[in-house]
Amino acid sequence: MYRYDDFDAAFIRARNAQFRAQVERRIDGSLTEDEFKPLRLMNGLYLQLHAYMLRVAIPYGTLNGARMRQLAYIAERWDKGYGHFTTRQNIQFNWPKLRDVPDMLDALAEVEMHAIQTSGNTIRNVTADHFAGAAADEIEDPRPVAELLRQWSTDHPEFQFLPRKFKIAVTGSPNDRAVTKAHDIGLRMVRDAAGAPGFEVIVGGGLGRTPMIGKVIRDFLPKADLLPYVEAIVSVYNLLGRRDNKYKARIKITVHEHGAEKIRALVEERFAQLRPQFSGVDQARLAGIEAHFAPPDFVSGPTDAYATERDTNPAFRSWSDTNLAPHRNPDYAIATISLKAHGGTPGDATAEQMRVMADLAERYAHDELRISHEQNVVLPHVHKSDLPAVYAALAKAGLATANIGLISDIIACPGMDYCALATARSIPVAQEIATRFGELRTEHDIGPLKIKISGCINACGHHHVGHIGILGLDRAGVENYQITLGGDGTETAAIGERAGPGFAYDEITPAIERLITGYLDLRSGPEETFIETYRRLGAAPFKAALYPESTRRNAA
């Protein structure tokens, strides 16, 4: 894991001191809210529906035990004893008081964390595959590159006032777990003909009110060219992106309006100017960063305990079926800790649970934790013989829900329970759907299925790329939920299609149940997943299941 050098530490210290003084000046009346707001947003501090909210970056989703423990401390000391992990691998504290925020930022700095550029029209937290450095299908760990991008983009003078916010995601695997095609820039590691790793560069993806799948503007970019090439993209966007209309200011609109060909030509032209200016310092820096991400010293030893526990403990077997993923070392597994207990708030963890996860990371996972964009926590390196002990500890802390990738593993944005922008609630919708399918005990039979819920058109809950997407809207003063079908956030990315008229708050769970009953009737067999059935048959039979009355009317 990357450790701050003296420069990083001094920079964060200076920024925190500045912000402390700015908060003091706001409180004593020397700064108006209009003056203060951009300053607090630069430091991740929002004013939401009921309170302030502090959004803390978890760079590329990587934490260690000490950092997780510090998040627990912050949650208890200055918040209400919990934190909310988000779809951008951040953590949000929902109840800080303005006066306490400088102390919270200092506490974060103690463990080399900050909230800089988690808001505003800047380059935001660079996200990465949550299985980075562990996945069996990985070409290379993408996190050194993500860290290089973080250092380059933090306080980059040219990119502090972009037309709009800018999000970069990076994956080192052909299987895209980082939703790279729905980011302003997506970087997908590939190899050239000679086997050297580089990146496929995807530009102009995004969700929100105008969802777009990103366009590939470079099939293969050598690793050494990454920084000048990304700088070329952002600088082209900085000049070309629209500033007349907030809703048309993201790079996806720039790419859409000008065409990928023109953007490619402009980027290549700019890149040709920039490339010679990169003397190699960035590559020296990258080499230094890579040393921080050296793989842990994997231990070898028998894995019999794992097999024995699977044979004798059905609950463990069920958990290991859903929550484990293949590790590049066959004696190891990647264990995902579900923050989706049936009926719980997706992505929330109590301080106590954070400490349990910190302990488990230190004891059993080479002191590494990851936050996934699906709002779960990952122990990336667990020796299989330790899995029974890990499971037992998780079960004791209410963290052993066996539902990763299933219908109750729902992404939900905070929605109108917290967010000032929301048009409807998302959390209770997720809670009710998960509770219902938990009671039915059908989710393992239903199989892999991604439900994603957003409480407004900005789509923080990624509903466009959910197999089933739910979008909460305000229709004439009443919450109303639109369903989209067939979305996909992986390497086969697709934007879901709207199914039809929306549903009232109390109609949405029954609607999802009809949809699932319809799917179970339609699928060719238990192996055919929801999305596969949808792709085979198209939307029509799913719509018929959702809207039985209109089907009956049409038949009459």
Partner: protein, 104 residues
């Protein structure tokens, strides 16, 4: 003829705590919606909003929200204002936790 005026309350967030607050008829800020002043004409609403907006070192983001007369005082009309008046639905936090009325 002018359009029928929908009654309003002045609401904002407290600068330090971030709490949702409402302006009362006697110029206090209350945490309780039903203690707010129910404003029933446009001109008075604008005056009260200006009064709120001038309090730059205590409140943030003052605005007029639709309300109606209820048994115990003004009640929210839109569900967003109902949530602001109560708190989130997933935890018993916010006003529903039983915050006592604090004058700021």
């Amino acid at each position: 003829m002018s359009r029928q005026f929908t009654p309003k309350v002045v609401t904002a967030n407290a600068l330090i705590e971030g709490d949702v607050i409402y302006l009362t008829a006697d110029d206090r800020w209350t945490r309780h919606h039903h203690e707010a002043e129910l404003i029933e004409d446009h001109a008075h609403a604008q005056l009260r909003l200006l009064f709120a907006e001038r309090q730059k070192s205590t409140v943030v983001g003052a605005y007029l929200a639709d309300a109606r007369r209820g048994r115990d005082g003004p009640e929210p009309v839109h569900f967003r204002e109902t949530f602001r008046a109560v708190g989130p639905s997933n935890y018993p936090h916010g006003k529903q936790a039983g915050l006592i009325d604090v004058q700021i």
